[in-house]
Symmetry: C2
Subunit: 401 residues, 2 copies
């Protein structure tokens, strides 16, 4: 009887992709493998390939330079390493260094073509690119992993946007216990993505739900609702998640930094305050964002100085606004003075010292210092990368509320 059941179970599975694997002969290769000595091995099955490389942010970066407005700017591109072909057409590369604790993304390149690791089920979509991901645990990266702690709920929620003229999608994190403690009200953190992101970015690439779960479980952060909007007001939702089909991001750029997102932000706050058990006051509201989201954070904070007690600018895209496109970008110094006259609880700024926005951020910090405007500033290593944005979130969240 046992044997028959085993066969039947195998057949049930045959109806799924397992059959495809079995029929097509995919090797069950382990990749990536985090070795006991701290190195990491990558494997890829490509029996007829001539050259296979792996590229990712676990490798030392290659510094590239650009010219921008007559000035030389630098950009740190992911490093590249070659795999060697072993038995059964399986190519392999093991790092010659211990990979530090962290979350990393990578792709293979097989004879000129980028592919993800088909043995790794963790696929990250960053706009129109797919990468494979892994975490080396230990240290701060333990905040990025799913631990055996109470987990909040992550919901994909649609709201009616009067500004856009259509329904839009956002992600909402409610902390563990939210559904059970039906009388409790919570503070709210709004987290904004960069120009290449959407309402999924901070949860997928940013590990925001894990960071919140873990910081709350450790008693280092207060239980809070966290809202992830889509910062491109011309879009309903992320690619593959909207009624207009897949939109290539370049076609969607026009409405990212022309004021509409910022001026329509109160409708987002109103929706959240109406539909969730929030503490609907300035001292219980925070906003932060990376790159374009840091730019949005700055202008939303300045134009609505009674809305947010806490603001966090992560590698913020300071200095890219064109004041002529919207009143929201005008009268900057006056708005800054008004903002500080209302005594915000915290303005927090983080930027890496090789970020192409580093000088712009330093200039802004200098202005704050010259005017005696209170703020906190974290300067660390690295460029315009998720590694830093995850760090900044783990630094900012414990300071809230």
């Amino acid at each position: 009887m046992k044997r028959i059941i085993t066969i039947a179970v195998a057949l049930l599975m045959a109806g799924t992709a397992f059959a495809q694997q079995a029929l097509w002969g995919s090797a069950s290769t382990v990749s990536p493998e985090i070795n006991e000595d701290g190195t990491v091995t990558f494997r890829y099955h490509a029996p007829k390939a001539v050259k296979v490389t792996v590229s990712g942010d676990f490798l030392p970066t290659q510094r590239l330079t650009f010219q921008m407005n007559g000035q030389e700017m630098t950009y740190d591109a992911p490093g590249v390493a070659e795999l060697k072909e072993g038995q059964h057409g399986i190519w392999e590369y093991t790092t010659d260094f211990k990979v530090a604790s962290g979350m990393y993304t990578y792709t293979f390149n097989v004879d000129g073509n980028n592919v993800i690791d088909n043995n790794n089920m963790w696929v990250n979509r960053d706009i129109a690119s797919l990468t494979s991901a892994f975490i080396v645990p230990g240290g701060r990266a333990d905040l990025f992993t799913i631990q055996d702690v109470p987990h909040g709920t992550v919901a994909k929620v649609w709201y009616e946007s009067a500004a856009a003229g259509f329904d839009r999608r956002m992600s909402v994190y409610t902390p563990a216990g939210y559904e059970q403690n039906k009388k409790q009200k919570y503070p709210v953190l709004y987290v904004l993505h960069g120009i290449g992101g959407d309402e999924d970015a901070w949860l997928d690439q940013g590990r925001a739900a894990q960071i919140l779960d873990n910081l709350i479980a450790q008693g280092k952060a207060k239980p809070m609702i966290v809202v992830f909007t889509n910062g491109n007001i011309s879009q309903e939702a992320a690619p593959c998640q909207n009624s207009t089909g897949y939109i290539h991001p370049t076609t969607a750029l026009p409405q990212t930094m022309e004021g509409t997102f910022e001026t329509s932000f109160p409708e987002v706050v109103k929706f959240i305050d109406s539909n969730y058990r929030t503490i609907a006051k300035k001292q219980s509201r925070a906003i932060c964002g990376l790159s374009m989201g840091g730019f949005h954070t700055l202008y939303i904070s300045l134009n609505y100085p009674d809305m947010f007690g806490y603001s966090g600018m992560f590698s913020a895209a300071i200095g890219v606004s064109d004041p002529s496109v919207s009143p929201i970008y005008q009268d900057f110094d006056t708005k800054l003075a008004t903002y500080f006259s209302k005594k915000p609880d915290l303005l927090w700024i983080g930027c890496g010292n090789t970020d192409f926005l580093f000088e712009a951020n330093k200039d802004f910090v200098k202005k704050l210092n010259e005017n005696g405007y209170p703020h906190e500033y974290l300067e660390n290593e690295g460029g315009h990368i998720w590694k830093n944005w995850r760090i900044y979130l783990t630094e900012f969240v414990p300071k809230l509320f």
Copy 2:
């Protein structure tokens, strides 16, 4: 000024995967492309490849045979077509037939190695296999697409499972208006996956949220809460979503069909009734599932005959239980008689005529007929495939409540 902003925006994007694309020279190939004549074109960039094929359920299937328990069984594997190399190393294949309206998944095979389509951002994970997906609209497939209608919320929720001894993850769909109509109570449908699935399967491969959104918007289904559990009680959650890291599904099989999931189902119902505004009675509860989930549906319905008014068995894995492993599988005929004596609102059965479980389902229907037990039975074409399970959900949901 405009020019400077354009450069700045380009640089902001350079911090993301765009730079990788630009640096690595990925072609911005369109694939798949649904042509005006109803054919579909697939493209893959592989300048040094010798042979590239595409395999997917849009192609005519290949019938394979198995031996099971001395009996010949059939299985329909996805078809395969060859791509031809064109300019710039881009391989291409266009179907020589109109692809019927539907949702399809596919992979490429490049010189013996399966890869997804790196120009298609819609990646489906089915346990340990990745496929690319697309929808040809029109007809029933319009139910699978995101339409411009009010959208429900899809949440990933963790609950404390006494049966498992740890917290477990489920997906919960609440219909559009749930958060606004705070006094309204809703009926609940529980939807179970197959042996190769998890709490994400019905939402990703099954398009359940889109089906519910669209049927409700058309007035063909009542607004309802829909719950997607993980049917493997030994797992916390889907791969990459649990604290134990990635679990290969074969190691997780022991506790799928030995009674624990079924006997612990009341704790799921209790959690939902405690945390959502449900109509907590039999006539407002439904359960359905595919394959192993149809098996679970049958035994949960029979062992808890006061719990569900509506039960749906989709290509159900009838006849694979071993009564010796759990009392839940014993006294089948007595439990069946009791179940029908309590006059359920609906027992619905759907099975394809090439499914390897077709005979087992027909035998069960015959037994129901012989005993005069009321039920509905849909027999259609095809095998043990998602195409049928999506159809069954669209047939079952309008009959509820």
